[in-house]
Amino acid sequence: MVLILAACGSPGISPEASTSASQAASSASASAGEVAEIEWYVGLGTGTNPEQIPVQEAEVDAFNADHPNIHLTLTVVDSEQAEQDLATRMPTNPPDIIGPIGIRGLQGFGDNLLDLTDQIDAAGVDRGSIEDALWDVYQLDGKQIGIPMAVYPSFIYYNKSLFDEAGLAYPPHEVGEQYEGQDWTWETVRDLAMQLTVDANGNDATSADFNPASIEVWGLDAQFTNNDPRAWSTIFGGSGSIVADDGTTAQWPDNWRTGLQYFYDGMWTDHFIPTKAELDAIEPGGNSFQTGRIAMDVVHQWYTCCVRPAEGDPPVTDWDIAVLPTGPDGTITSKLHADTVGILDTTENPEAAFEVLNWIRQNPALLQAWGALPAITDQRGDFFAGLDETFAPLEIDWEVSTQMLEYPDVPSHEAFMPNFNEANAANGEFGSRLWTTPDIDLDAEIDAHLERLQGIFDEAS
């Protein structure tokens, strides 16, 4: 059916012509006082969790009540299917607005998004209310395809009970702070994580009696990274790019090799990071920190969605967040996720769509539901106050999050690659191999992967 829909599309009309025509139509309809139909498509990023959907629905109802000239409808598609679903809708009945959508998602649909530059200026959006670097994230081929809406720095979530049990001090909350007289580096984290990794007999990973076949608690994880070697390399090795400056050559920077080796050794040699099989055994869904068996976990701000103490007897009762350590390149890197909302260039009502977009990006209830740290700096205080309310009586040190925002990965670990989807799939297969296979020569594997990637990059041209 998809193929029929595709075949019955209307090839031959350029997007520009289509958009111009629809803009004219929109103006005409606006002048006639008609109600503009706008469909908001959620599923390419956050917004699909069961507790988020009612909030979105309520806000949409409120918007419709306040805007008689626009009828907004909400479509929520499971994030596992959303990309395919949207792609197959594009030829015939695309929605108007998509989002929240992350940097990776933009690589798939960036070409289909409307340039918002004129509308941003016409609406008088205060560019100064958002850090300049965040605006750049949504510049694509000279187009401003989104307004920064939400940012999610990464940091270390740590389980205080496991630290207490091991008699170890909590990790630093301030950049530059030492840990027990040691500089806070990934090497220090390795030592700490091995002390926190405990087998069924209570031996930690530094002990000669430690049994890696019966680990009960792991010292470190980077959950939900989903086989992404670019992400792992960035976390443990610092910023880098898989694409050389010429835009066509595949590369794996030295600091990324170091970072990936750290990750690999952490799993297979030092055993303080769980392998995929070990994770599958304790939590097939991947939310390992919530099992209470992970002492430190590098995750983003959006993870506040899923660490809420559950009803009854939650496995993690007491946690806080700590700053990331200095990497092998001597700098701190907080892998950054960011979300925006975009308008598809096929919309028949671009002005109404922008009105909706502008409302979504500043809506505190939506941002709170998404666990989204607002890109608008003035809104951040209220956001953290809301989180304090959510997590009371825990007192989480949100200052850590604010500090980590100053160390984003540039370029992003989700940035453009030629032939993006195929290259991304190849990366996933490579990551999966590292995650599941012991005793490999990592440098040789990286070189072989680069060769494959180059072939994929070359196909793009």
């Binding site: 059916m1 998809v2 193929l3 029929i4 595709a6 075949a7 599309g9 209307s10 090839p11 031959g12 009309i13 350029s14 997007p15 395919q84 792609a87 197959t88 594009m90 030829p91 798939g108 649909f109 070409d111 289909n112 086989n227 995929k276 099989a277 070990e278 599958d280 055994a281 097939p284 989807n421 195929e422 799939a425 996933g428 297969e429 999966s432 191999r433 599941t436 296979t437």
Partner: protein, 322 residues
């Protein structure tokens, strides 16, 4: 019936009855009613099978990305030519063939063995066992696959716990390039209920006098199975062979669920159909994916035709013929 002599008509000539509509008269009305009843199926087939197939055939000669539908272009046989030099496709084809070599004989043998067991008069509570072996088919395949992921887990899966209990080392079923096909084959055995039922029907239709005659001739259990049972159930064996072969070439869901569509480990679960899915819905190469679909169709059709050609030499046709 009215008759009238015509100018050139002989004495026995009759005038043709007045023409009636194709759907008038008792037979015609019956036909119309029949068509009316099957119309939903016909409409469904045309809308959801025939037209999409036709569309995919057309698309197989194009370069088509649904995200840029207006840039569709005709590329002739380029998509078909590309297959010859596509290393991923070559690997996916090899993976599918290797898996077929394991799973086709194994599932046929296991289904037949179970059918023999639940057909045996020596088994108490046969009906209970028949129900139990059929029950897994009632569980959605995605749900059962998720359960199997747990069963096959290297650390705490039931299979490895069983191996451990008899002193055997744990096997990393789903992450080992060597073990993942046997693991999927074992998973496949969970769903042999249909084949078992068909074999069971075949076994129950074997005339008992043939076994009596074989016993009189001194045939043992194996000889009776080899020379009576197998030839007599060869038509259902043939049917099951065709079905399992087609299913193996279309193998997708379990591989997709286990690896989230990546084909892990090391591409060993990147089956032909999963590769097709990735080309269509992850890489958006709809034209190439359509060409892959048609090649798969032709290959399976060809294999089925070859099996039908060989059927004359080993499938019992009735009346003492093979």
């Amino acid at each position: 019936m009215a008759t009238a002599p015509g100018p050139a008509a002989g004495p026995l000539a009759t005038v043709a009855p007045p023409r009636t509509g194709r759907f008038s008269g008792p037979n015609g009305r019956e036909t119309a009613t029949g068509i009316l009843f099957v119309a939903p199926w016909i409409i469904g087939f045309v809308a959801f099978s025939a037209l999409p197939m036709l569309a995919s055939l057309v698309l197989s000669f194009t370069d088509f990305d649904p995200r840029q539908a207006d840039e569709i272009r005709f590329v002739g046989a380029e998509n078909y030519a590309r297959m010859l030099s596509d290393p991923t496709l070559i690997k996916a084809s090899a993976v599918t063939l290797r898996f077929a070599l394991i799973v086709v004989p194994l599932s046929l043998a296991f289904a037949l063995a179970v059918a023999l067991m639940v057909n045996s008069t020596l088994l108490a509570g046969r009906n209970v066992f028949r129900t139990l072996f059929y029950l897994p088919l009632q569980i959605p395949i995605v749900a059962s696959t998720v359960v199997w992921i747990g069963v096959l887990n290297v650390s705490n899966g039931w299979l490895n716990l069983g191996l451990g209990a008899i002193g055997l080392p744990a096997v990393d079923w789903l992450n080992s390039t060597f073990w993942v096909h046997p693991a999927l084959a074992i998973m496949g055995l969970w769903g042999i209920g249909n084949m078992m039922l068909i074999f069971l029907a075949g076994l129950q239709s074997v005339p008992t006098e043939l076994y009596d005659a074989a016993r009189v001739d001194g045939a043992g259990v194996w000889a009776r199975f080899r020379h009576v049972t197998l030839p007599m159930i060869s038509p259902v064996l043939f049917y099951n062979l065709i079905i399992v072969l087609i299913a193996t070439f279309q193998y997708f869901t379990q591989a997709y669920v286990i690896t989230n569509g990546r084909g892990d480990p090391g591409g060993e679960t990147l089956f032909f159909n999963l590769n097709l899915f990735r080309e269509a819905f992850q890489f958006y190469n709809m034209g190439y994916a359509s060409a892959l679909a048609w090649v798969l169709f032709v290959v399976v059709l060809g294999l089925t035709a070859i099996l039908f050609r060989t059927a004359g030499s080993w499938v019992y046709q009735g009346s003492g013929e093979r």
